[in-house]
């Protein structure tokens, strides 16, 4: 494991909504953590503990009020919107609870979308990669179908293939199984474990499901915007 490297580091990260007003609310209270490549980490905690806010900040969709976020060793807090957007495209893959595919496009186009955003028209190699990823998530031959024609579980697999198409260093998943039945949820989570093993990317999963968090090697528990536990199993 000599090629293990730090993907993400958070240093004194705070997030305050409506600062200086009566509605001021501190959602994250000084988070310090580090995630390395190849780690499969579950982020758990009760509703309102700040998990999604933290995930949004890590995904560069939101900015912290204080503290610093290093992505691949690069400080991100002062980056402008354009640079953050490019960094997001190059470094991070997202999987959301509600699949979030673009219904106007085919399954293959949905998978290729992050690459198309980066480079325009995809080349033959890109298409091959997308088809291979679809096969890997068990959806071989589904490329031409419209996203809306698939079941919930299938859509979530497409979303996973899409998140992996740019070979991201960090894969973020927000309640990826929250909207699926137990059996499909187990299949999807197994897929995450496979991906983590095969691609070697760091995977950070927000979940409420104790079985899923239990199957992760590392588990971080967030309560009231602070990390109360960070456990690692062998």
């Amino acid at each position: 494991m000599s090629d293990v490297h730090e993907v993400l580091r958070l240093k004194g990260l705070r997030k305050v909504y409506n600062p200086g007003t009566p509605q001021e609310q501190e959602v994250l209270r000084g988070i310090d953590m580090c995630v390395s490549s190849g780690e499969l980490t579950a982020l758990i905690g009760p509703s309102g503990s700040g998990k999604s806010t933290l995930l949004n900040i890590i995904g560069l969709l939101d900015s912290p009020s204080a503290g610093e976020l290093y992505l691949m060793g690069r400080a991100t807090r002062t980056l402008d919107d354009e640079t953050r957007t490019r960094l997001r495209n190059e470094t991070i893959g997202f999987v959301f609870q509600f699949h979030h595919l673009i219904s106007a496009f085919s399954v293959l186009d949905n998978v290729l979308m992050p690459l198309m955003i980066r480079c325009g028209k995809p080349g033959a190699e890109d298409v091959q990669l997308a088809e291979r990823l679809l096969a890997q998530v068990g959806l071989e031959g589904f490329g031409c179908k419209r996203a809306g024609q698939l079941s919930g579980g299938q859509q979530q697999r497409v979303a996973i293939a899409r998140a992996l198409v740019t070979r991201p260093a960090l894969l973020l998943a927000d309640e990826p199984t929250g909207n699926l039945d137990t059996r499909t949820a187990e299949q999807v989570f197994e897929l995450f474990r496979e991906i983590n093993r095969e691609f070697g990317c760091a995977v950070l999963v927000v979940t409420h499901d104790p079985r899923l968090s239990g199957s992760c090697r590392r588990s971080i528990e967030l309560v009231d915007g602070s990390i109360v536990r960070d456990t690692q199993t062998a």
Partner: protein
């Protein structure tokens, strides 16, 4: 090249969004098409009508004429400490020849914006045949030059347009009054014993009763003798390249020659007013129809931005920059304008063909490809401009919020 390749995705997303909501796209396209059809039809109709009116009016007269300045009484200025009370009658304007008109003609020939120059000796006379008499206007011309000002030969109803030696061409109304046909003789009386017997070579009908009853075109030298203007001409007629610039050309010519220059715009003030009012009305209709099309596109795209909120959030989360999201919606506006106006142009063209076939048939409306292309270009630009506000709104979405939009 990289830029073009990057724009490829914007095209793909814009088209996919438009095709995904077909009914909405179809409805707004029909709206744009109706607006464009109205603009194309009304523009072609009014410009056809105006060119018909202008052709009828200017087909029988010069765009501008150059004459000697009016003769006025000269009043000696009063001495320093005196007040002068002046009582005078305006002077009668006698026929006078333009000074040095040959040099003037050659000078005018080379002027920019001037298409044709024709010197003319014109004045009143009496035409007699037997006991019948008619008051006429003698038009002594150089036929070759004059034909470039008023193509009389086009309006001939009998004979040929000849104005040489003793051969003349006269209006159909005058011929009817004096009972003349081609080959007949008549006597022209310029007054004070100056008379000539001439032969009718051609009869024309310009379509203006006053002219058809009075005009007699004859050889310039014959007219000079009858009007007692040896070697002289009373005016020089001009046609210009741009008829609506005639007044400016007239002002320039007046400064250049020191003569009096009068354009058709000055002599046909009411017609010009009517044409201008008509153009203004058309312009207003075009502006308001254009505005309603623009608001239509803007409102549809504003709805579309709301409908696509989550998808915009997904694109942004996947690394789509704000500028790309903005371009997607600008392109949608442009595409709606282009496709709608192409359809509208076709409908407008069809309406014009129907008008030409089944309308009053007073004149034929022609549709230029330039009009259709410019309508499409303007509609496309209008679409892009109308999309600016919705596109900016889409680009400003916070991806973290947009992605949770239900």
């Amino acid at each position: 090249m990289r830029w073009l390749n990057a724009l490829w995705l914007e095209w793909k997303i814009a088209l996919a969004f438009l095709l995904d909501n077909r009914l909405q796209t179809l409805l707004i396209m029909v709206g744009i098409a109706v607006g464009s059809a109205v603009i194309v039809f009304i523009t072609a109709l009014i410009s056809g009508l105006q060119s018909n009116v202008i052709e009828r009016t200017l087909g029988t007269q010069a765009h501008l004429k150059i004459e000697m300045p009016d003769e006025v009484n000269r009043v000696l200025p009063a001495s320093d400490n005196a007040v002068a009370l002046v009582l005078h009658s305006p002077r009668a304007q006698r026929l006078r020849s333009l000074s040095n008109w040959q040099a003037l003609r050659d000078l005018l020939d080379g002027q920019p914006g001037v298409r044709a120059v024709s010197p003319l000796a014109t004045g009143p006379a009496i035409a007699r045949r037997g006991q019948a008499r008619a008051s006429i206007a003698l038009m002594g011309i150089d036929p070759e030059r004059y034909q470039r000002i008023v193509p009389v030969a086009r309006d001939l109803v009998a004979g040929r347009f000849v104005a040489e030696g003793d051969q003349v061409a006269l209006g159909a109304e005058l011929a009817r009054e004096l009972g003349l046909s081609v080959g007949d003789k008549l006597r022209l009386d310029g007054g004070e014993g100056r008379e000539r017997v001439v032969r009718v070579a051609g009869i024309f009908e310009l379509g203006v009763r006053e002219l058809d009853a009075r005009y007699v075109y004859l050889d310039l030298r014959q007219a000079q003798i009858l009007l007692d203007l040896p070697g002289g001409v009373t005016q020089i007629d001009l046609t210009v390249e741009d008829i609506f610039a005639a007044e400016k050309v007239a002002e320039r010519m007046a400064r250049l020659t020191g003569m009096q220059a009068e354009s058709w715009m000055a002599t046909n003030g009411q017609l010009l007013n009517a044409l201008r009012s008509q153009s203004m009305t058309t312009e207003m209709i075009r502006i308001f129809v254009g505005l309603s099309v623009a608001f239509g596109i803007a409102s549809v795209l504003a709805v579309s931005v709301v409908q696509r909120t989550r998808e915009i959030g997904i694109l942004r989360a996947m690394g789509s920059p704000r500028s790309q999201v903005m371009r997607v919606f600008l392109l949608q506006g442009g595409l709606l304008g282009l496709a709608g106006s192409a359809l509208g142009g076709l409908v407008g063209w069809g309406l014009i063909q129907v008008f030409n076939l089944f309308g009053p048939r007073l004149f034929v409306i022609e549709v230029s490809s330039g009009l259709l292309l410019s309508a499409m270009l303007v509609a496309t630009l209008t679409g892009v401009l109308a999309a600016v506000a919705p596109a900016r709104r889409a680009a400003r979405y916070d991806p973290a919020v947009a992605i949770r939009y239900v």
